[in-house]
Every structure is written in C-alpha cells, then in structure tokens.
Assembly symmetry: C2
Homo-oligomer: 330 residues x 2
C-alpha cells in the first residue's frame, strides 16, 4: 500500500480471491471497476486444512496489496458452498472437504482487512455482469462447468441468493428422472452428464463399449488418466468418439439451460469454468440444443455466450460482492 | 360508481379480471389491499372471438364497479400468455385460440378505465404474495395446475417477467429427457405428466393396462369422460389405481419443484389451479417427493403450501399489477 493515501473515504482497490478446488487466484480490482491487476496464482491444497489455505491466501493478499498504488479497502472471497453469508461461514464444501469454517473472519484476521465471502459460481456470474460478457443484463445466469456444474443468478445487478444462500444449484437440477447416478446420491442431475468427471467417465465407458467406428486417439491413453480436457481437445481435433461424448454432454446441458430459459427468461447466459475453457467446441452443440429445446421467443431474447474472462471473473465478482457490501452500486 | 367521490387522487378500487380457458372471474379489490368483493363469474367462450369475450368482460366490470362505494381507478387483467405487456397485447394463447389481440386497449375502450394485462399464473403468484399464503415472501413461486402447468415468480414483491415476458414456463421444463410427448411438441416436459389432461390420460392408460390389483371405480366410467378431478376424487377416496396415477403425477411435479428449489431457493412455493383445488390429496405426495429430491437445507427454508385463495388470487394479483403500474408499492 502506498503511503501517500490513507483516507478511508478515498478507497481505491479491492482484493478479489477465488478459492477453487485446486487453484487459488488473487488480484486487485479497482474499487470503481476495471480490469484486475497483479493477479497471482497459488494452490488451494485444501486437504492441509482451512488454516493453512487461509495463511497462503493471506500472504497472497498482502503481496498483491503491496504492489498496487493506493489503498486496499477490503477483500472479497468466492468459495464453493453451501455457505452462510451473514456469518461469512463455509458450511460444507465437498470439493474442499471443509466444514463450518469461518472463512471471512479468518481471512480478515490474517489480512487485517474487512472480508466478505460468497458462492464461487455466483461471483463468476456477477464478475461477468460487472465487466464481462453480460454487462448491464437485467437477468444473467452464469454457468460454471468444472468438477461440478454450478451457476449464479444475477438480477438487476445483484446476486439472487435465495432463502438460505442455496440458489443456483443448476448442477443438481434433474433432466433425466431415474437417470445416471450423481455425486449427490440422486439420479439424473445434469452434473452427472456434463461435469468434467462425467465427461471423462463417459469417454472411458465409450472406449470400453467401442461406440465409434474409427479408433479414438483416447484409446492410446491410460483410461484412468483421461480428463474432460483431453476429451474436448480430441473432439475439437475431429476424433469421432470424443465428439459423440461431448455432443451428449452438451445435449444434456442444453436441456438444463432450456429449463433455465423457460423458468427465468434471462437476457444473458454465460458459460465458464474449466471444461468450457478447454472446450469452446461445446458452444456449438450447446446452442443447437438450446434452440431445439426452448421456446423460440425466449431463445431469441437470450444471448448464450462463453465467458469473456473465464479465468478471472470469479475473482472480479468476489470484489464486486465486497463493493456492494459497502453500499456502493456496481 | 358513487357520485360523492370523484378526485382521482383518492382512488379506492381496482377491478381484477381473471381470463381463464373456460371461466371469467371479475371482482373489486380495495386499492389499499384487502379481500375482493362483488365477485362475478362468467364464461370465457373464447371461441366466439376476443371481441365477444371483451364485451362480456366489459359488462361484468361495469356491474362490479356500479356495486361498490367509491371510485374504480382501473382494471388489471390476468390472461394466459405469451403476451407483450408493454403493448398490453396477447400474442398467442393456445388455450383461448387468440392471436395478437390488443386486450388492454380493447378492455380500456369497453370500460373507459385504464387497463393493464399480465400473465395469469404470474397474477396468481402475486395475488398469493399480496394477500394469500405467501405474504412478504422474498422469493415466491406460484404454480398453477390445470389444463397446463404454469408458474409465476415473485421476487421482492414484483413479478419476474424476464427478457421477453416469457418467464415462469415451469410446465415446459423437462424432467425426463426423451419422455412422454407434451402438447408443445417436445418430450419429457412436466406438463406431459402433471397437467389435468395428462392425469386423466394416464388414468385411461392405466385402466387399459390394468395396473391395479383391485378394480377401480374409474372403470365404471366412460373412459373418454374421465377428468383429473375424477381421478383426484377417486384417489382421495382410496381407489388404488387412482392413487398410483396421482402419485406418479405428484412425483414428476416434485422433480420440477425440486429443480425450482435448487435454482431459486424460494422461501415459499404455492400450489394452485383447478387440479390442486380438486386434489389437496396431491400435497402429501408432492411434499414427500420434494423432500426426497432437493437439498435438505433448501427444503427446510421453503414453505410448500396450497394456495390460500385458489379461486380468486389470479384476479387479486391482476389488481395488484394495476396498483404497481400506478407506481404504488404493494
């Protein structure tokens, strides 16, 4: 932090933190809005416990803060839920293995800065609304395709949290009652078809079943090591089996997105997350599927687009949540 | 209208109109809120054309207005969509058979009162929010079970219309990809399982298939004449076949409601419409299905209740829409 500025009435930066299952991302976002600067990457290593992760986050926040000119007024953190925003508490994260972690106060203690937390997919959606592909949208739904399928709903520039901070669980909406088993224990959730692990798993099954006429490049790999990224890359390169698998995932995701369009009639649907980043190839079949499955007028009214900033919108949106918590509009 | 009052600054009544596929309902609602009075019933007879229906609506509005003490300031109309609210235009209603009908201006011409229109299921939801089972809910979803499955979403006391006035199409959200054929031409929509005609149709099939051990009372009827109302009544009376049919419909509806809970995390879900009125019996299996299918914390946060005023909330909500159009909050 530079010495020349000290008036709290003259805030300049918010540090945004994106706590992923594997990676940490930290950067400084102008309080007034703008591209993130001094973006740093780290490893979450959640299995070492929340305290160790918070120490790493604290060190990154301090580094980022030291590098920017001007005052840092606070920290916004995006983290997988479910969580209790009021108490800034992570209740349970299957991906991180944490339970009842008071993440907000831990990060505030570590950084000596006020901190707020919000759901990571909601932060992604708000980040894309604030400075990405969905600026000024009245109703934006941001979808993250990764280890899970998440989503965030932004209405009039504010995250729709719902009655218990649990809104946006797109991944566990059912598209095929009695269908494939999901990680949540239920059947037919879209996550069981369109998450990264689901795509990789389906590719392994397809190899075993021999569903393609031409031999697949994926057949040369150790089946256990195949990732969704590999499948998307192979599909983009024209591999038949990979294309069939991606097509199927896109089609099931299209059912879920068409359901969102039927229910909410959003003006923007933004697709992000690791799988989407690896597979822009997804967007084509996704668009076709949605057009086929939702009412034409609602499809026409909705821009279905890839994230403008798939890597940083979560972090930027977390900063936006902090900004809103100060009472400032975006 | 009484002669003693004439200042437009002293409004007292709004006439609410609910245009159903079969029935018209018209009543006067206090501008300040309160139970509807002078409620009249009529037949829509949409097949005679919009003009004839509007003439009947006009006569009913004038009668209701003449009966109340005080000034009537306007008319709110709930009507099946899709519609264009700004132009107060019904674009297309499969149930009424109308196309591009400027219903708002036609009713205004007929009644010499300002008129607004909105989607009937949205009006139902807003009516239940204003004076029914979901008062002061932050996020209320109202579901109407009838010839179709409709819904309205009320957020912070306002209808969520979406980008093209098409939000709330719960009936066409897919719960079983590749499943039963829906009236919309697609497959697996919840309306293909839980609407009145779907329940009646399934009962006819079940009779033909002989799925129950005990003979059904419905077997004594002309299969073509069986209605959802009959099926619900038989189920409530303990008929095994009817119970199986209602259970299946409730279970598929529960999938769709669980999807709504996952996406929106509402604090209230209100069930109304003709089928629900006939079958309070539905609520039990519906609740069980939702509890089984949605996350416990979100289910706990949501009151799943039958409509407080299944007959009149559409009309009351239409009046609420008019009230909001004047700039007054509810």
């Amino acid at each position: 932090m530079s010495a020349g500025r000290s008036r709290p009435a003259d805030p300049e930066w918010i540090v945004g933190v994106d706590v992923g299952g594997t990676n940490l991302r930290v950067g400084a976002i102008p309080f007034a809005g703008g591209a993130p600067v001094e973006v740093m990457h780290g490893k979450t290593r959640a299995q070492e416990g929340a305290k160790a992760t918070v120490r790493r986050i604290g060190a990154m926040v301090r580094k980022v803060a030291a590098r920017v000119e001007g005052e840092v007024v606070g920290v916004g953190v995006g983290v997988p839920g479910p969580l209790d925003r009021k108490r800034a508490m992570v209740l349970e994260t299957p991906n991180l293995g944490w339970r009842n972690v008071p993440l907000g106060s831990m990060i505030a203690d570590e950084t000596k800065l006020p901190a707020v937390i919000d759901n990571d997919a909601a932060c992604f959606a708000l980040g894309e609304w604030w400075m990405g592909a969905g600026q000024r949208a009245e109703c934006l739904v941001g979808v993250t395709l990764g280890t899970g399928v998440g989503s965030g709903i932004v209405l009039g520039g504010r995250i729709h949290h719902g009655a218990s901070d649990a809104a946006g669980e797109l991944g566990h909406t059912v598209v095929a009652v009695g269908g494939r088993r999901c990680g949540c224990g239920r059947r037919g959730c879209v996550e069981a078809y369109a998450s990264g692990p689901a795509i990789a798993g389906r590719a392994r099954e397809a190899l075993a079943e021999g569903i393609a006429v031409a031999p697949s490049v994926l057949g040369r790999r150790d089946p256990g090591a195949i990732t969704a990224r590999d499948v998307c890359a192979a599909a983009a390169a024209g591999d038949e089996l990979a294309r069939i698998v991606v097509q199927r995932a896109a089609d099931m995701l299209a059912v879920a997105l068409a359901n969102v369009i039927h229910l909410l009639n959003p003006d923007v649907l933004v697709i992000g997350g690791g799988v989407a980043a690896a597979g822009r190839f997804l967007m084509g079949p996704l668009r076709t599927g949605v057009e086929r499955r939702a009412f034409a007028s609602a499809v026409r009214a909705c821009r279905l687009v890839p994230a403008a900033f798939p890597e940083t919108s979560g972090m930027v949106g977390a900063a936006a949540v902090f900004r809103q918590a100060t009472g400032a509009a975006l």
